[in-house]
Structures are given as structure tokens and as C-alpha cells.
Subunit: 464 residues, 2 copies
Amino acid sequence: MVKVLAKDLFTKEYKDGEEVTIEGWIRTLRGSKKIGFIEVNDGSFFKNVQVVFAKADMEDEFDEIKKFPISTTIEITGALALTPDAQQPFEIHAAKITELGSSDVDYPLQKKAHSYEYLRTIAHLRPRTNTFYSVFKIRSIAAFAVHEYLQHHDFSYIQTPIITSSDAEGAGEMFQVTTLDLDNVPKTDDGKVDYKEDFFKKETNLTVSGQLEVEAFALSLRNVYTFGPTFRAENSHTGRHASEFWMIEPEMAFADMQDEIDVSEELLKYVVQYVFDHAKEEVQFLNDNVDENLIVRLQNTVSEKFAQITYTKAIELLEDADEDFEVPVKWGLDLEAEHERYLSEKVFKKPVFLTDYPKDFKAFYMRANDDGKTVAAADLLVPEIGELIGGSQREERIDVLEEKLKDFDLNPEEYKWYLELRKYGGTVHSGFGIGFERLVMYLTGMKNIRDVIAYPRTPGNAEF
Amino acid sequence: MVKVLAKDLFTKEYKDGEEVTIEGWIRTLRGSKKIGFIEVNDGSFFKNVQVVFAKADMEDEFDEIKKFPISTTIEITGALALTPDAQQPFEIHAAKITELGSSDVDYPLQKKAHSYEYLRTIAHLRPRTNTFYSVFKIRSIAAFAVHEYLQHHDFSYIQTPIITSSDAEGAGEMFQVTTLDLDNVPKTDDGKVDYKEDFFKKETNLTVSGQLEVEAFALSLRNVYTFGPTFRAENSHTGRHASEFWMIEPEMAFADMQDEIDVSEELLKYVVQYVFDHAKEEVQFLNDNVDENLIVRLQNTVSEKFAQITYTKAIELLEDADEDFEVPVKWGLDLEAEHERYLSEKVFKKPVFLTDYPKDFKAFYMRANDDGKTVAAADLLVPEIGELIGGSQREERIDVLEEKLKDFDLNPEEYKWYLELRKYGGTVHSGFGIGFERLVMYLTGMKNIRDVIAYPRTPGNAEF
């Protein structure tokens, strides 16, 4: 008895008639009086293994097996029958089928199709469907591809803190972290919350970005990145926003905006190619069932050099567009998804970098351009998604940065350590951030961010 | 002019006399009237590049350069002089040195040694020291080795949620996550906190483990793992505990306790070997300066088969030990670090798995053994650290699990989805958790967890 994995059966060489044993879950089962068919999935591979069982081979148990509910866990021992000309390249002719774990007739995933909304309510079971099996396999493979590309290019992975006492970019919408008793919040004499009683002896929040913290490491280890969870307490109910999501934030010393643009393009292409190579069946399934343009879009991403124009030029293109935008276009507008998608889908038909954005709606740490109006920021806009990557050269000039903090009404005392990165051997440096869930949506064709997160957190929803 | 990296200079072939340009930070600088020496580090490699500059070659700037403070960012162009018989295999004879970023004479990292305590107060600068450069390089390399081993063994990476509404193992010490205004907490009519007003419409916390959530994926994708931050709001001030730390939690369907023991041993060996291969200079430095037993201990980890005994046998060994333990030993005791270290350091002199612990101090989800007293749990104890890995076979029998929930005073309604993983095709499954910071301590010889975390969070400390 040789225990085998479905993955091995589909990808390695076996002899016709070889006896194998496989464990897995029943995906479908149908039977007549004398013969039955089971599709079993063992988790190791997208495809199911076809099992044939006959009353003649297992007189007593045959009728029992025929009644197994979907998702019963079974072990099958039998002979491999190679069927190279059939759609299924092989099947197992069962000599013995053993129940390892029972299931129930009220199993929520019967053969009919279920809505994504319903499947979100059974997030613990939905990876058993073809669609979500594919999504979470691709998510895993893409995460590893990110690590592999960066590590093989000498980027060091830094885990920046999740709990933070700084409010990063001055973004207001943060989750507070506390051990105070909310039934009975301790107060100071003047009636304010007494944070001396809190766990960290001050007010703390969940991070919105690890960028500032990782910059310190770029100025010592040169090429670094974060890859971890970030949080926004925005009361946003769109299919593009979640309250908890993962970000990839590479940061490079001795690199300018064009350098970070080039690295981000190369990284994205590497990830797409890696997913093609390591999740063929899953990508094909999603292309056939979820987004018929998926494979073409991804192939295009790998093969085409991305376009690159300035924000100012993009505004001209949008103003000239024969298109009714919901939000009217003019210089100074922070582009909406509709504009971003128009540029990448209609004008360039591929990913496009926009550079040199107006300083007014970009973060304080982005390097001021000489025109006094724009900063050295670059966003990558892609079809279907809009903004996928946001990067910039960072302001390395301490005097300019100090002015910027004032302009943004940020407390220089809180950024003392950040300013010191410029005081003691600053240098040109740049970085970018990729919203990992948006990347997974791009790679899978899924349209709602809730459907690419294992257990999504959105306003009013923190189940499981 | 060819821009090169220090890493390339130390690891690739160059011709004597070849002209190169390198950017980096001054680590040391000394000069006489006519000649000066700079050790420059560019972040790409542990070792510094030796630069020689002469008054004869740069008449005017020579005296300026000699005054550059430590950590000034410079660009050097010059000829490579290969010195294969010297301690340094090469040096650069500078033709031109340009300042890219100034530093200051009050730079906090002067050449003298600093205490780890002091360096924690300048966490943004400490990766510029040899010790912390090494620690964070090794941390990065070890993280990648974990991903590589698991991905190459078909484990899928699942990002389980950070914000959770369940209290996992019934652990009380959690951080609360909220958007309620603490100055003015909304109350219901009966005077309790009105969580309907909170962001998620219920009480939420930071996760202490992703295990339960990732089990759902093991029962569909077979081999899975989490690798992410976890949190404990314990008011603990030891060198072994942090409030925020990363955990690696693999979980496997169709695997029993012995299977998870075997995988965890193979994974640990893989990571140690990978660090040896990819951070030679860093490991050597830490062995020479931080922990003189480091290399021997790590080599031993790779080459020796780990020991394995039952908890009951371990208690016998400890009772027979000629050693004064602070906490006296008897069956039923949850072992302390002193006991764990005695077993691995004195008795076995290598890592040792303890199995089949008393059920009373282990989690509810661990599989009950037939003796009625113990569970199928396995902890790996290692020299210097104590417990490094904690694993178990999970209880797959729904009736036994329901009894356990009662025994642990946990609400079965909250675990309904977790019970359903047993109701609909359960199977033997197992997993383990590695505290990533403890692993990094083991790999680096550092003795305080605060010194292996980029920006450590401990009671009263959430700086940066």
C-alpha cells in the first residue's frame, strides 16, 4: 500500500494497474445498482481524482458507500487505470473504501452554485469550493513570489510594528488599541482619559503603514521591505476597501523615483509569471468561470513594457476623453478609480505609471519637485483595479522635510527620529507600496476584496 | 564609472586596477597629513570596504574629507587594489570622494561600544551597528527560509485575521481594538458599553493565535500555515516576552502527532542550514562577539537527530536530577524554562521533543489520549531558549471536543464553525507553532527578545 497525493498522480509517472492509496474528501458521488463514481479531492491539487467502485468488489459495503454525504472523508485503495485519451488521464478502481470522518446530509456546500455573499457567511467552508480553493492557492503562491523576488534581489524583510503610538501620515481613521476597562475608563483630574493607566502608558493605534519605520532600515541595510497587515477604520462599504489588509512596502537607499518604478514593474511581472507557472489549473479555472479576460490581461502584464506619463499629461488625456466621468477632471484632482481605469483600460490597454502628482493630496514625505507644485510620486494604474502600486522618492533634505511637517500640521517632536535619518547620513531613497489584496484581485479576477481575504474585516463584520 | 555593491566586491571576481564607484556610509575614518583611511558600509554586505585616500590625489578636498563625521554618506570612485594576502582582500584607492549626505559630530553611534539598553532607545539607528545589522539580516533570511521550506513542501500561506471577536483559547490577556471615543464611551440603558456603536458592532481584540482559523484551511487545502503577528497583553517584564511577536503556525490534514514532530524538526534544520549558507559573516560575527557557543549549537542542531521522550519520562529525569530547581518538580507541573533548559542542555545536549503532556495545562483543542490524563501534545525544548515549538494532534472527534469546551468553560455557540470542521468531513490533523522571535534568538545568540525585534512592544513601551 503506497499512500499518494492527488498532486503526484496528476504530475508524476505511474504504471497502469499500480496499487495506490489516497485520502480525501468526497466532492461528488453518484451510483447505480452495481457501480458508483466518486470525485475525491485531497487538498493537494486543484483537480479531483475519479474513483470507480463496484458492487462486485465490495459486496457488503457498496450500498453504505453509496449513501456517504458530500464531504465525507475517505481512504481509497485500488488499482490505477491510466486513460490517456479520456478527459481524466486516470481513474482509481477501488478495492477498498474506508470512512475516515463522517459528514452530514445538511452539508452547506451541495453541488449547486452558491452566491459569494452566502459563501462569506461560511468562510470556514468556502475554501472547499473550486473558486475559493483557487483564490487562496493563488494568494499563497503570490505572497511567496513577492518574498522570493525581493530576497533574491537582496532585500531584507523587516517586520515593522503593528501597534504604534504615532499616527503615521496624519491619517485620522485608526483603530485604538487599549487594555483600559471601557466600562470604567480611568480619568485624570481634568477629566481626560488617563493613559498612564493604559498598557503602553500612552494612546496607541493599529498601524496604517510600516513605511516610516522601514525607512530607518533602508538607511542601514540598503534594500528592505515590509509585508504585513495594516488597518483603516474607514466606514467604507465598497468592494475595494477592507478594514484589515496586507501591504508590501519595499524601500531602497541610493534609489530615485525611476529606480523604484523599474523595480516595482519587475516585481509585478515576476509575481504574475510565478503564478502562471505554479497555479496553471487555478488560473485556467478562474479564467473560465470568473473573469474571461484574466489570462489575456495577465499575459499582457508580463509581456508589455508598462507605459509611463506624468500626472499632468494624464489630466490632458482625461480632459480630451470622449467619456462622461462621474467626477469631472481638472488639474489638482485626486483621481478616482473611473479615471485610473480609463487610462489603463482604454488609453494604454496595459499598466501605466503616473508620475509627479500635485503635492496637495500626496503624503508629506514625498520629495518636492523643483516646480514647487508637484512631488516625485509614481502610482501604477492597472486594468480592472485602478491604483495597484503607490510609490515615491522620499524627501531626503531635512530643511524641506521640516517645512513639510509644518505645512501638514504634524508635530516635529514626534518625527524627531525620522528627521534624524536625514541628519546622520541621509541619501536619495525611494520606495513603494502594493496593496496585497488588490494584487490578488488582479491575479484572480475576483471583484470584491472580501472574496480574496480568508476572514474579511469590514465595518460591522469581524466574524470567526 | 561602474557602480558596484560591497556584496559584489566581496563575492565576485574583479581585476586589479579596475575602476569602480561605490556609495555608502562612513563607519570609521582616520587620517594623517598625507593619507587617510575610510571604512565604508553600503548596506549590501556585512563587511566594510576599505578606502584609501591621499592628499596627492585630491589636494583641495583632502582636509575637508578628513573632517567628515561618522555616518556621512559618500560616493567613492577609485581603482581597486587586490590584496589577496592581507586580511582585507582588496581596497579602493580613491580618485574622488563626494559627499551625498552630511552627518553630524553628535552622531549617537561613535566607535565605542554601547549597551543594548541604550541602543533600544535609538532603534532607528541601531541596525547600523554590526550586531544589529547581523540580527536583522538573519531575521530576514530565517523568515524567508521558513516560507521556502513550507512552500516547497506544498504548504499554502494563509493570512488569518489580526482583529478577532473570539478569544481563541480562552486566554484573558488580550488587547482590545475599538473606535469608541474613550472620553465618552457610549452606554446602553443598563449602563454597559454599547458595542453596537463600535466599529465592528461587537467587542473585538487582537489575535493571540491564528490556529483555529487556519485549521479550516487545512481541512480543504491540506497543508497550510500562518506567519503573522500575534499579541499578548501580559504585564510581563522578562527578556523572553514581548507584547507583539510573530508566530509561524503550520497545520496539516491527514497527519498525526508524530508527523507534525517530524515536519517541525525538518523545518527547523532547514532554517538553520539556510542561515548558515546565507549569513556566514553575520553568524561568525555573533559567535565571536555575542555567544561563543552559537556555531557549535547550530551545527549540532542540523546534524543531530532530535531526542524524543514523554512528559512523564521527563518528570522522572528531572526528579532524579542532581540540581536545585527554583520550582520543584512533580507530575502535573507546567515546566519552567529552568526545567526545559536542563533537559536540552544537560541531559540530551540537543533539542528534545517532550510528548503527551497532562491535559490540565494544555489547550482544549489538543487530542485526548486514551489514558484520560494526557493529550497528544509535543513541545520542542532547545538549549538557551527552552520551549521553541509547541505542537499537537488536534481533537477530531466532535463529541470529545464538545465535552472539552464544557470542561474549559467555553461557549459552544462561539465555536460552532470550529465544530463544523469535524461535523463535515473531519480527519486526523495536527499542527505546531513556532515563536519567530525565539527562533531568531536561537539563531543569533541574543538573550533579550527586545533585541531581535525592529521596534519592540513591551509594557509601557510603544516608541517609534
